[in-house]
């Protein structure tokens, strides 16, 4: 695929369409479905032969959320800086900043499996030996990381042993209130005797598998016991809150607008050992992916 043959709005349209109907678009082989790619400085990498100037042994891979693109990571008022590139100055040998682009409407476990395969190929073909791997996941991206960790450890992939840090930024580990609401609303309307109410329920039900997975924070192919966090990796959680005052009722109800603080921290999960948790009141869900305060926090944790 050419690196950037389309205009910005076309990329965003594809990302939004893929979020809503990505699994359906993929089944129709529709070119609107965003294809999986790893990018460096806006250029897609050839995984078998990655050509990168000054490749370093530390890789930081950022994984965006639902209906987003890799551009969500760009920090405002900088020359294309992102969390990954800002880490480079503080880590010995530098950091190669990579971003994933993927079809967010596909089931999360499938994106996780593909990411795992991609990382395995990447560490094998990287020009210098990979010594450290950092994964940053925003929103759905955090669940994709968990799916990839599960797939990678099940397949005994080499990259799992190189993974030092996972950062979950506004990831709905216990589900998103909006996705839960859509699920409940569709179920309720579908049970109504009036046909016009059923139609509304059916329209809500058209949402992709990726969105459905967000209602319960699912990242496995089938229900069942969720695997624990990888034991030899540090796991960090970052949450946002809409209002600046932590105890504001808006924060209790809506969290960062899409994910509640408790869900982002995985409070319903048992046995989680987190290396760090940080909450940023006044930073909404989208801005969590490119906020200077979050960048400073990541420097503190990862450098």
């Amino acid at each position: 695929m050419p690196s950037n043959p389309m205009s910005r709005w076309q990329h965003h349209t594809s990302a939004i369409a893929s979020g809503f109907f990505g699994d359906w678009l993929e089944s129709r082989r529709n070119p609107l479905a965003v294809s999986l790619a790893l990018l460096h400085s806006g250029t897609e990498l050839d995984l078998a032969h990655p050509e990168i100037d000054n490749a370093s042994g530390t890789l930081c891979i950022s994984i965006h959320g639902l209906m987003e693109l890799e551009t969500v990571w760009q920090l405002p008022n900088t020359h294309g800086e992102s969390y990954g590139s800002m880490l480079s100055s503080g880590i010995e040998g530098g950091v190669t900043d990579l971003v994933l682009r993927y079809n967010t409407g596909r089931p999360i476990y499938r994106n996780g499996q593909d990411l795992s395969e991609m990382l395995e190929e990447l560490v094998s073909s990287w020009p210098v030996p990979v010594t450290r791997l950092i994964l940053l996941g925003h929103s759905m991206g955090g669940l994709v990381i968990r799916g990839a960790c599960h797939a990678g450890s099940t397949a005994s992939h080499r990259w799992v042993g190189l993974l030092s840090d996972c950062v979950y930024i506004g990831a709905p580990h216990d589900g998103s209130w909006l996705a839960k609401g859509a699920h409940s609303m569709a179920g309720m309307l579908n049970e109504r005797p009036r046909d016009y109410l059923k139609v509304i329920g059916e329209v809500i039900d058209l949402r992709s598998e990726g969105i459905r997975n967000l209602s319960r924070g699912e990242f496995l192919e089938q229900g069942g016991d969720e695997p624990p966090l990888l034991p030899d990796t540090r796991h960090y959680v970052i949450c946002g809150l809409l209002a600046r005052s932590r105890k504001h009722p808006v924060n209790v109800w809506f969290g960062d607008a899409l994910v509640n603080e408790s869900s982002a921290q995985g409070q319903e999960k048992s046995g989680w050992q987190l290396a760090g948790v940080a909450t940023f009141p006044g930073v909404d869900h989208l801005r969590l992916a490119h906020h200077p305060d979050v960048a400073n926090q990541l420097q503190e944790w990862l450098v």
Partner: protein, 94 residues
């Protein structure tokens, strides 16, 4: 590269058209159900009133018949356009 780019852009527009025609085809059928279900509520009231009862049944049948014809024509046309584009091999080119 520019030929490849043009093919990719062409494919993107065909993909957009495919999504829109599928959306119109299915969306129109849903609008038909909403329209007829809401109309049934009104006709149901008219049928309970003795003065309007004889005519409301006739009106309901003709209203539903004409509405179905219109909605299904649009849906059929959209599905036809979608099928015609689906037969274009460029649509399947990634």
């Amino acid at each position: 590269m520019s030929v490849q780019n043009n093919q990719y852009k062409h494919g993107w527009w065909l993909g957009m058209a495919d999504m829109l025609t599928q959306g119109v085809g299915h969306g129109v059928m849903k609008i038909e159900r909403v329209h007829l279900a809401i109309a049934d509520e009104t006709f149901g009231i008219l049928e309970r009133v003795p003065v309007t009862q004889p005519w409301s049944r006739v009106a309901r049948v003709s209203h539903h018949g004409i509405s179905r014809l219109c909605y299904r024509s649009v849906s059929l046309a959209a599905t036809g356009v979608g099928l015609a584009m689906g037969s274009d091999p460029k649509l399947l080119k990634r």
